[in-house]
C-alpha cells in the first residue's frame, strides 16, 4: 500500500491534464511541474528562493526559541512573573499572528525585520505556553524527591525541573517551528517580494501555473521534512521522555 494512493492520484491528474479533461492551464500535468522544478533548480533561482525562506525561518525561530523558553521557564518557576505575563499570552495566543504584520510594517518599515518578526511571534507564544506547561505538569514527586536529596535552587532547576520539562519544551519548539513556517510563507505570499510564498503568489498572478505548483510542492516538502525530521530528532535525543515516572 504505502505510496500507492498518492502515486495513483498523480497518475490520474497526469492523465486528466494530458487529455484536457481538466484545463491544462490551471492544472498542468505533474510531469510538466516536475520538469519545471528540475529546470528552475538547475537555473539556480528556485534554490535561491528556498534559501531565502529557510534563512528567514532560521532567524525567526532563533528569535522565538531563546526568549520563549526562558520566559516559559521563568513563568513556571516564579509565580509573580506568571501572574504578570499570563494575561497577555492568553490574549494574544488565539489571535492570528498575521494580523501583527501591518503593525510591524508600520513600526519597522516594509522589510525583512517586519517579515521575520511576524513569523517569530507565532512561534514565540507556542513555545512559551509549551514550556510553561512542561514545568507545571511535571511529576510533583520528582520535585519532592529532589528536595529530599538536598537539591535546591539552581541544582534543583538543572537536575530536576529542566530535564522533566524538556520533552514538552521540545514539543513546543517543534510546533513553534511549524507555525513559524506557516506564518512566514503566508507573510511572503502577502507582502514580501521574495521567498517560496511570494513565488506562489507571483506565478498565480502571471498564471504561470507549472512554476506555481513547483513552488507549492517545495513548501510542502519543506514542511514535511521539518516536522518529520524534528520528530525523529526528538525520539533520538530525549530518550528518557517515556520513562520519567519514578
Amino acid at each position: 500500500m504505502g505510496l500507492a494512493v498518492p502515486a495513483a492520484l498523480l497518475a490520474l491528474w497526469e492523465l486528466c491534464s494530458r487529455l484536457a479533461i481538466v484545463s491544462p492551464l490551471y492544472f498542468p500535468a505533474p510531469t510538466t511541474v516536475g520538469w519545471v522544478l528540475a529546470d528552475r533548480f538547475a537555473a539556480g533561482d528556485l534554490g535561491a528562493q528556498s534559501l531565502v525562506t529557510l534563512t528567514r525561518l532560521a532567524v525567526a525561530f532563533a528569535l522565538a526559541a531563546v526568549p520563549g523558553v526562558l520566559l516559559g521557564l521563568l513563568m513556571g518557576i516564579a509565580r509573580p512573573v506568571r501572574d504578570a505575563v499570563e494575561p497577555y499570552i492568553a490574549f494574544i495566543f488565539p489571535v492570528p499572528k498575521i494580523t501583527l504584520l501591518p503593525f510591524l510594517l508600520i513600526i519597522l518599515g516594509v522589510g525583512e525585520p517586519a517579515f521575520v518578526l511576524t513569523g517569530a511571534t507565532s512561534a514565540f507564544f507556542q513555545i512559551v505556553i509549551s514550556t510553561l506547561g512542561g514545568v507545571q505538569t511535571m511529576d510533583r514527586h520528582l520535585l519532592e524527591v529532589g528536595r529530599n536529596y538536598g537539591a535546591h535552587g539552581a541544582r534543583l532547576f538543572w537536575k530536576v525541573i529542566l530535564p522533566a520539562a524538556l520533552p514538552t519544551i521540545f514539543t513546543g519548539l517543534r510546533l513553534g517551528l511549524g507555525l513559524a513556517l506557516v506564518t512566514l510563507v503566508a507573510v511572503e505570499f502577502i507582502a514580501a517580494k521574495s521567498g517560496l510564498g511570494h513565488l506562489v503568489y507571483r506565478h498565480w498572478q502571471m498564471l504561470s501555473t507549472p512554476e506555481m505548483y513547483a513552488a507549492f510542492a517545495l513548501v510542502s516538502a519543506l514542511g514535511l521534512a521539518l516536522t518529520r525530521g524534528l520528530r525523529a530528532l526528538q525520539a533520538r535525543v530525549l530518550t528518557w521522555q517515556d520513562d520519567v515516572g519514578v
Binding site: P6, T99, L101, P102, L181, V219
Partner: protein, 259 residues
C-alpha cells in the same frame, strides 16, 4: 463581596499588570516617549473603536467575517468528521490517504487560494473553501485518532453482542471518538478564524482582515488597533468560550489536551 476581595488578593498581579501597562502606554504616548504615529494612546483607540461601532462599519465587517468562519467551519466539520470516521474504521483507506494528507497538511492554507480559485468560482466561495482546508485536516486527524484509540475489547464485546454496521457505529464508535472529535472541532474553529482573517488580508474587500489591511494601507493607525482588538476578542471568545460551553453543555465529554 468577600469572595471578590479574596479573588483579588490572589490575582492582583494578573489584574494589575494590564492596567499598569495601559496607563504607562497612555502616559508614554502623551509625553512623546512613544511615537503617537505608531502607538496611539489607548484612549484615542477607544474613541476610534466607539466611532467605528457607532457608524456601523465594525458590525458589518465583523458579521461578514463571522459568516465566513461559520461556513468554513461547517464545511470542515462535515467533511472532516465524515472522512475522519471512515479513515478510523477502514484501515486501507487510512493507509492510502495518510501520505496524501501528510504532504498537504504542512502547507499554509493561504497558499491554497490560487488552486481553489481555479476549482470553484473565485470570490466568496473560494475564500470559504480555502479557509476550511486547515480546519478540515485538524478535524479529520483528531477524529481518525479518536476512533483508533477506542479500546479493542470494547469493540469486540459489542460485536459479540451482535452490534454490527450502523449500531456498532452509532453506539460504540461514535461515542468513543467523541472527546477527540470535540477537541478537533475546537482547534478547527480557532484555525478557521486564523485562516479567514489571513485570506481576507490577501483577497477580500470586506471583513475584519480586510479592514485591518485597508487601514494599514491608508495609515489609519488607530483603526488598525481598534480592528486588532476586535479580532483578538473574537479569538478569545471562540477558543475560551467554546471550552466553557462544552464544559457546561457536555460535562461528560472531556476535552483531550492537544500535544
Amino acid at each position: 463581596m468577600r469572595a471578590l476581595a479574596r479573588w483579588l488578593a490572589e490575582h492582583w498581579i494578573a489584574v494589575g499588570s494590564p492596567i499598569v501597562l495601559l496607563v504607562a502606554w497612555e502616559w508614554a504616548s502623551a509625553t512623546g516617549l512613544l511615537r503617537e504615529a505608531f502607538f496611539p494612546r489607548p484612549s484615542t483607540i477607544v474613541g476610534h473603536l466607539r466611532s467605528l461601532v457607532a457608524d456601523g462599519t465594525l458590525w458589518g465587517h465583523t458579521a461578514t467575517t463571522l459568516v465566513r468562519i461559520g461556513w468554513a467551519f461547517a464545511l470542515a466539520t462535515v467533511l472532516g468528521v465524515g472522512i475522519g470516521l471512515a479513515m478510523g474504521i477502514w484501515r486501507r483507506l487510512r493507509e492510502g490517504l495518510d501520505p496524501v494528507f501528510a504532504a498537504i497538511y504542512p502547507i499554509p492554507s493561504v497558499l491554497f487560494l490560487p488552486i481553489v480559485s481555479f476549482l470553484v468560482p473565485p470570490g466568496e466561495v473560494a475564500l470559504i473553501v480555502t479557509s476550511a482546508v486547515t480546519s478540515f485536516f485538524l478535524v479529520a486527524f483528531t477524529t481518525t485518532h479518536g476512533v483508533r484509540q477506542i479500546d479493542r475489547l470494547v469493540v469486540e464485546a459489542a460485536v459479540h453482542y451482535d452490534a454490527r454496521g450502523w449500531r456498532l457505529f452509532a453506539s460504540v464508535l461514535l461515542p468513543g471518538a467523541l472527546p477527540f472529535i470535540f477537541t478537533g472541532l475546537r482547534l478547527g474553529l480557532g484555525f478557521a478564524l486564523i485562516v479567514v482573517v489571513a485570506v481576507e488580508i490577501v483577497s477580500a474587500s470586506r471583513g475584519l482582515g480586510a479592514l485591518l489591511w485597508l487601514s494599514w494601507q491608508i495609515l489609519k493607525v488607530e483603526d488598525m488597533y481598534a480592528t486588532f482588538f476586535v479580532i483578538a476578542l473574537l479569538g478569545a471568545v471562540l477558543s475560551y468560550g467554546l471550552a466553557a460551553l462544552r464544559a457546561r453543555l457536555l460535562p461528560w465529554v472531556q476535552d483531550v489536551a492537544e500535544q
